[in-house]
Symmetry: C2
Subunit: 363 residues, 2 copies
């Protein structure tokens, strides 16, 4: 994805060929800052403090963190120690542990002098695999946007609504829900994105708005309350959201509020798509209501951070003092409300049969 | 409604019998401050700066503003001047103009020495009429909450979800959507209120949370995204919201996001009620889609005000710099999603026939 016309990933190797550079996402959206990581400690801190966030990106960061550790000490003990420390930084991130085990397998049986180059090679493969997966999602999803564009009159744009940030910034490049948007936009399709603010953490207004704007995609920020009204007014042609977990029957757990938008889409005949890689499908969970929903701190609801007039980023209390709050992070959108699932293998119905048609090996 | 156990209205006469005291709502929810108004200019400023807000309260404030003007000068010229000036403070507020014409009619044909007492009497009637209307809404609506409570097991509370602020602070006392809640709570019904934050202006998290908390009603603030999930989990027994305008067929225009909650209520079998006085019904508008929807400034979406760590109330930018935003203030909830309308005359179906049954004189 581009920033002011120059292509960026969220993580890449420095000019020295070994240090790791990242976009420091804790500074977004108010400042575009970069960080250079030279040690495993730097990598661990980047994960812990959410300089990098999003499951695929955390995985790639951890992989490069192992590389940096091996540069310091190539012993088995140091490798075990680095993997254990990196794994602790975000205890619930499945991709983090997966990437670390991949790195362990890649170097374990090699002599010390071969380990470093093998590690960098495997880390690059992990990063590149994410980009390829997301590009494939983009190609399949862009066809849906382009089909919608073909029905528009000259001068009309396709209006896509998205919720939260399932974009480039959560991945190594392109994103999941936003990948079809980038693909269609880069291919010349006239489109415009309605960006749900996505309270309580505002990933839409901050991250999605930032990355669409940086790449040049036309967008408008709206509050989470507005999507239904816009659909009633005929101002939304389709919805594309990401997923945190997909059950085997096609029910989708995603950022809180996704279910409300899916209801409005159904009520107004607006197609509602969920874009995600196969790794998001949890074949062990039969139906959505069995997906555990994380409850997060009340503080996220009761406060908001932003940039004050003097340019400083501050946190402010927004609710009546002493208010209790509840903060469920996700909700479950039933498969019956979902028009289709967009994966790296194509588009399928949100159903057991639909998923089986794309992933027969899991059938 | 009580604040720390002491009964308050939002507007009342001072101990001197003529000055007007109000709760300064610009300081809420972070500070409970009062203001004493002694001139028509004070009253105009209170309306303009939103020290008082909410259609019924603005009407009562304007009525007392005419009293204060007459104290200064009882002439016809001064009366006309005061009414013209007060009317300009909020150009679209229908109640404001209605109250001012009521005041003009009450004093116009009286000799100057009778005008002041007649004015104070009419202003008190306008304020009291609002309280009586709201109390009647409360009594009718409380029966619905009590019926729900009767189906609960011992120790269980009725969970009511509300959106925006249709409470005491928008009226002289009790409110519309919140009046049934106060009535049921004061009558000993065990209940708990889910308070939608209500972006972009946060009237839920600030005003509704403040007034429920002050009166002692148990509540929890949630983001606007959360209500659907809570309904799926069986944690919402009923919804009660206010209305900005009701069409003759029972369609309801209310704060943006109301429609999404009504969809979720329907999808989960949760009763969805709208509480409003008859003055909110617009008999000249046949169906909801003919209700004009105000579009407000993008700044309300892109910024948020709150209290910083040093205790000052500041405004912060929350979106990616340079983001465009769209800000429709209301949406229309179709009558098919509404279980019933709660008015001062009782509860009716949200339909032309339902409204006719309560207001046969308009049939």
């Amino acid at each position: 994805v581009n920033i002011d016309g120059k292509a960026y990933r969220t993580i890449w190797l420095g000019a020295d060929g070994w240090s790791v550079e990242i976009i420091d996402q804790t500074k977004l959206p108010h400042e575009l800052a970069f960080a250079t990581l030279k040690t495993a400690e730097d990598a661990g801190r980047a994960i812990l403090t959410m300089q990098v966030r999003g499951a695929p990106l955390i995985g790639a960061m951890a992989a490069y963190g192992v590389c940096l550790a091996l540069r310091q000490d190539g012993s088995d003990e140091a490798l075990d120690q680095a993997i254990a420390t990196l794994a602790k930084q975000r205890p619930t991130a499945v991709n983090l542990r997966w990437a670390l085990e991949e790195m362990r397998a890649a170097v374990r049986n090699l002599p010390r002098d071969k380990r470093l180059s093998a590690a960098y090679q495997r880390a690059a493969e992990i990063a590149d695999a994410d980009v390829l997966t997301n590009r494939a999602i983009g190609v399949h999803g862009a066809k849906l946007i382009e089909a919608m564009a073909a029905r528009k009159r000259p001068g009309e744009r396709v209006n896509v609504l998205t919720h939260c940030n399932a974009g480039w910034l959560a991945c190594v490049d392109r994103g999941t829900a936003l990948s079809p948007i980038y693909e269609a936009y880069d291919g010349g399709t006239a489109l415009h994105v309605w960006v749900d603010e996505t309270r309580p953490r505002n990933q839409g207004a901050s991250l999605t708005a930032f990355e669409l704007g940086a790449h040049g995609v036309p967008y408008t920020v709206i509050v989470d309350n507005a999507g239904g009204h816009l659909m009633q007014q005929g101002l939304v042609d389709m919805c594309i959201v990401g997923a945190d977990r997909v059950a085997a029957n096609g029910d989708v757990a995603n950022k809180i509020g996704t279910y409300l938008k899916a209801l409005a889409a159904k009520d107004n005949g607006v197609p509602f798509y969920v874009a995600m890689p196969h790794s998001t499908i949890d074949w062990t969970i039969a139906v959505g209501k069995d997906i555990p929903i994380e409850e997060r701190s009340a503080e996220e609801v009761l406060t908001m951070s932003g940039r004050s007039k003097d340019g400083k980023v501050v946190q402010v209390e927004i609710a009546a003092p002493g208010s209790p709050a509840r903060n469920d992070a996700f909700d479950v959108t039933p498969a019956r409300l979902i028009t289709g699932l967009i994966t790296e293998r194509g588009v399928c119905q949100a159903s057991r049969d639909g998923l089986r048609s794309l992933y027969p090996e899991r059938g």
